[in-house]
Symmetry: C2
């Protein structure tokens, strides 16, 4: 697939076919995405792969509970705009995808967000190049139960940066609207 | 170019041909890279393009001065490992590239680092797809002189996330070593 075509095919996908994704495919995509650049080539990224729906449901419930508690304590919480959907018991933050990859790394790493975002970008494109769909689920970072974190293998000194769902898309929608680029100044 | 090939060709480039890069090419790459995903499709990215070498030299000098001041005040500064090269008057943090793009955005945006990193990733790949070389220059974020910031068009409420140099590479080195992916656990 040509790169320009790939950029248009990489869409945030929230509707998946009822089809498992082979673990080998996920690990291939992870391996390929490790070619992403990182600050000082530090490669701080680590991964947890979850392809058990029951566990994903529990992680979704944990995230929803914590976000609703944030909203109750702070009406200005950025999660406020999701309140209605978070109260919907049917709603799964991971959209019933067949697989979830947590991109995590050391909490004390100064550029963890940057490095893991670069990895995540490669991951989403490498998946699209194979006809797979992904979506970065920001709501899915809100896992705070230490026992659950231990159970899924996230060390205490690590932080979740990017929860990415992956699976076979039911369809690939057209690219959504983008703003005109805001080039504030050209100094030439 | 096939995507897998592109991933191998996207290398951090610090040696450039003495050849200007047309402004239209840079703006095309910026426009294409706006297809990057962002939190809630918020697209908080904004840009300043600098292709005047004299201005880039001043920005390099300003960054070096501030980093050396950080090191003097705090020997544990992350810049400490660059101290020798920062003291070298010949060293330009932008490696004498023909062009520099600052990816910036509102300081108060909660996910600015993530969103601008996703943009930067698209930008570096879209450049590589055109045979161009880029490098994210972390040292180049350290511009603090308000007058200089105004002169290059960065608003006071904005923050530099990604300074990216771009130009025609003298060569494309082989991919550097990557660690084996650290998949901590598979929950299946």
């Amino acid at each position: 697939m040509e790169f320009q075509e790939l950029l248009k095919n990489r869409r945030s996908i929230r509707d998946f076919q009822e089809k498992e994704i082979p673990l080998d495919t996920v690990t291939d995509i992870i391996r390929e995405s490790c070619l992403a650049p990182s600050s000082g080539n530090g490669q701080p990224w680590q991964f947890v792969v979850i392809n058990r729906k029951e566990t994903m449901k529990r992680l979704s419930d944990e995230s929803k509970k914590n976000l609703l508690s944030d909203i109750a304590q702070n009406p200005d919480s950025p999660a406020k705009k999701y309140e209605d959907i978070l109260r919907n018991e049917e709603f799964n933050v991971f959209y019933n995808a067949p697989c979830l990859v947590y991109v995590i790394g050391p909490q004390d790493h100064r550029l963890l967000d940057v490095d893991c975002s670069l990895f995540a970008c490669y991951f989403m494109l490498a998946a699209a190049a194979r006809g797979l769909g992904t979506c970065w689920i920001g709501l899915g970072t809100n896992v705070r139960n230490q026992e659950l974190m231990r159970e899924i293998g996230i060390p205490e000194d690590c932080r979740i940066v990017a929860p990415i769902i992956i699976g076979y898309p039911t369809s690939i929608p057209e690219p959504s609207e983008r703003n005109k680029p805001r080039i504030l100044k050209v100094v030439s």
